[in-house]
């Protein structure tokens, strides 16, 4: 199974940010079997990274690998859609 590399941009402890972090961690734990790297960027603390990545919306999840790079914005609260968006099939379970 290929390596997944993620960057998740959040804004402090905003409601949407907390929800997104929770959901993503859950998915990683349950579906990726340790085959992932996740960097959580708080734009309050590290605005340069947000600038570099051209982030507008919070939360923004970037899947850097596997290619192609794609982005999901929002609180990630519909699990099946997040999985589809990240190209992770439930087969990986």
């Amino acid at each position: 199974m290929s390596m997944h590399v993620f960057q998740l941009f959040i804004n402090g402890h905003s409601l949407n940010s907390i929800e997104a972090v929770d959901t993503l961690l859950k998915i990683c734990r349950e579906n990726l079997n340790g085959n992932y790297q996740l960097e959580i960027v708080d734009i309050q603390k590290d605005p340069d990274k947000a600038e570099e990545a051209g982030i507008i919306a919070i939360p923004t999840l970037i899947r850097m690998e596997p290619a192609p790079v794609n982005r999901i914005i929002g609180a990630l609260n519909v699990r099946s859609r997040v999985l589809a968006g990240l190209g992770i099939s439930s087969m990986h379970k």
Binding site: N16, G74, L76, V78, G85
Partner: protein
């Protein structure tokens, strides 16, 4: 109460807005695609840096930053240096190549933080957000969220106290202010840019719809995009009918014509010669130019029908030496096709020449040719703006206009301009006894008496010759001359 304004540096805009954009506030600039919204914003920042040393932040939601840089360089704005010196900061919010999907609720706090940081970093006094509509397209399924979030952006802007422009698309030139109704929450100040296609010609206008708590010129003002000065507005509504009227006379170059108009044209007056093809209009122009010799005046000739070689040859045929006048620096001849640019551009071009050459007289041969370059409405506005400008500068003008019929008749051009001319001279053919004779008559002359006779007009190798009046003939102006038996 009149709220304070920030001078934009675009003199023509500052003129119609009575001082610039409302200071510390946000102005919505709405326009259809291709209406120069981005340029309007970019010019606002560029002039701020160039003229007032006020740093600016440019947010792009639509065009890629590199494309904007290229665009700016084409107007000779030194974007590279400004970015290096930290006077101009881009906030890149343009769409990325990657696919974006939305799952769940989100906000635009990242954008607000980036915007605020950029403003703080360069201490920006000017901010441009171009264009707000694209963010709706980027997040097309979430328009409610975007609306809610844009209100937050507007609040951030007002807290930052920078004078800002937000651009927005509109779908029709005359209809809803913006496509996504952003005016609902950005309502205080609205400027509309239009790019209307009428009779196969484009006409750009700018209208200040409202500046809350402040006055400004109303209605549409034409503008043009100039390679040197970017957006230049021709301030129609801001013109004042307050020019001095001289009683000084200047010669028409033909003594007999001077006699008909009681001693010559008034200095600073606008004079029209109307006639069919070959009736002697250009001859009158040549004499008007030749009239500068006496007092060493300077004259600018804008020729829209003939090349300079042709003009010089014809003038020589009438015993008038243009070349010599030009060598003495008294005459400047500009020959161009009217179609090469819009009327607004011609206007600005003439203004530039007037500024450097400082003529006492201007001759335009012919206005009818110039009217081809525009719609009727545009032409009328051009004439009004142009004559007001000439009067303001106290330049005496002689324009020619073609009539479509050989004998009698008037032209559309004349209909447009005759109310604002001071003198109208008619050159008409008279068909008599199997011969085309020429006639000359003064139809009107403001503030002066004039000859009311229709006189014979002949052209020889010595030039123009004005003779006796057509005795016993009536119906010349209607094109049906008849001999009346005299008792």
């Amino acid at each position: 109460m009149n709220l304070q304004k920030l001078e934009t540096g675009n003199a023509s805009f500052d003129h119609i807005s009575h001082g610039g954009l409302p200071i510390g506030r946000t102005t919505l600039v709405a326009g259809s695609s291709g209406s120069a919204k981005t340029l309007f914003g970019a010019q606002f920042l560029a002039l701020g840096i160039q003229l007032f040393d006020q740093p600016g932040v440019f947010v792009t939601f639509e065009e890629q930053v590199d494309d904007i840089r290229k665009h700016l360089r084409s107007f000779h704005w030194d974007i590279d240096t400004w970015e290096k010196e930290g006077k101009w900061i881009f906030v890149d919010a343009a769409p990325k190549e990657e696919i974006i999907i939305a799952v769940g609720d989100f906000d635009l706090s990242a954008f607000r933080i980036r915007l605020e940081r950029a403003v703080m970093k360069c201490n920006a006094q000017r901010v441009v957000i171009d264009s707000i509509g694209s963010i709706f397209t980027q997040f097309h399924e979430e328009t409610h969220t975007i609306r809610r979030e844009l209100i937050q952006v507007a609040l951030t802007l007002s807290r930052l106290n920078a004078t800002s422009i937000i651009t927005a698309e509109r779908l029709e030139e005359y209809g809803n202010i913006t496509r996504f109704g952003v005016e609902e929450f950005l309502t205080d100040n609205v400027v509309i840019l239009r790019n209307v296609l009428h009779n196969e010609k484009r006409r750009r206008t700018i209208e200040i719809l409202k500046f809350r708590g402040s006055d400004h010129e109303k209605g549409e003002n034409p503008f043009t995009i100039n390679a040197e000065k970017a957006i230049v507005i021709i301030p129609l509504s801001a013109m004042i009918l307050k020019h001095t009227s001289s009683i000084e006379r200047v010669t028409s170059g033909i003594p007999a014509l001077d006699e008909m108009i009681d001693g010559g044209f008034y200095k600073g007056s606008i004079n029209l010669v109307s006639g069919a093809i070959g009736a002697g209009k250009t001859l009158l122009v040549a004499n008007f130019i030749n009239g500068i010799r006496e007092k060493k005046e300077r004259c600018l000739l804008m020729a829209f029908e003939e090349s300079s070689a042709q003009l010089y040859r014809n003038a020589t045929g009438w015993g008038i030496d243009f070349k010599q006048l030009e060598d003495e620096g008294l005459l400047k001849v500009i020959c161009v096709y009217p179609e090469i640019s819009s009327l607004e551009d011609h206007f600005i071009n003439i203004q530039e020449i007037v500024k450097t050459f400082k003529p006492d007289r201007i001759a335009i041969d012919s206005l009818s040719a110039l009217s081809r370059a525009s719609s009727d409405k545009g032409f009328r506005e051009f004439i009004i703006a142009f004559t007001a400008y000439l009067k303001h500068q106290e330049i005496t003008g002689l324009f020619t206009s073609n009539t479509p019929l050989l004998a009698g008749g008037t032209s559309d051009t004349e209909g447009n301009i005759s109310p604002i001319t001071d003198t109208i001279i008619l050159l008409r053919y008279v068909e008599m006894s199997g011969e085309m004779q020429r006639s000359i008559a003064v139809l009107k002359m403001r503030g002066s008496k004039h000859d009311s006779a229709i006189r014979k007009f002949t052209i020889s190798d010595k030039g123009a010759n004005i003779g006796k009046h057509f005795e016993g003939i009536s119906g010349i102006l209607t094109g049906n001359p008849m001999l009346i038996k005299l008792e």
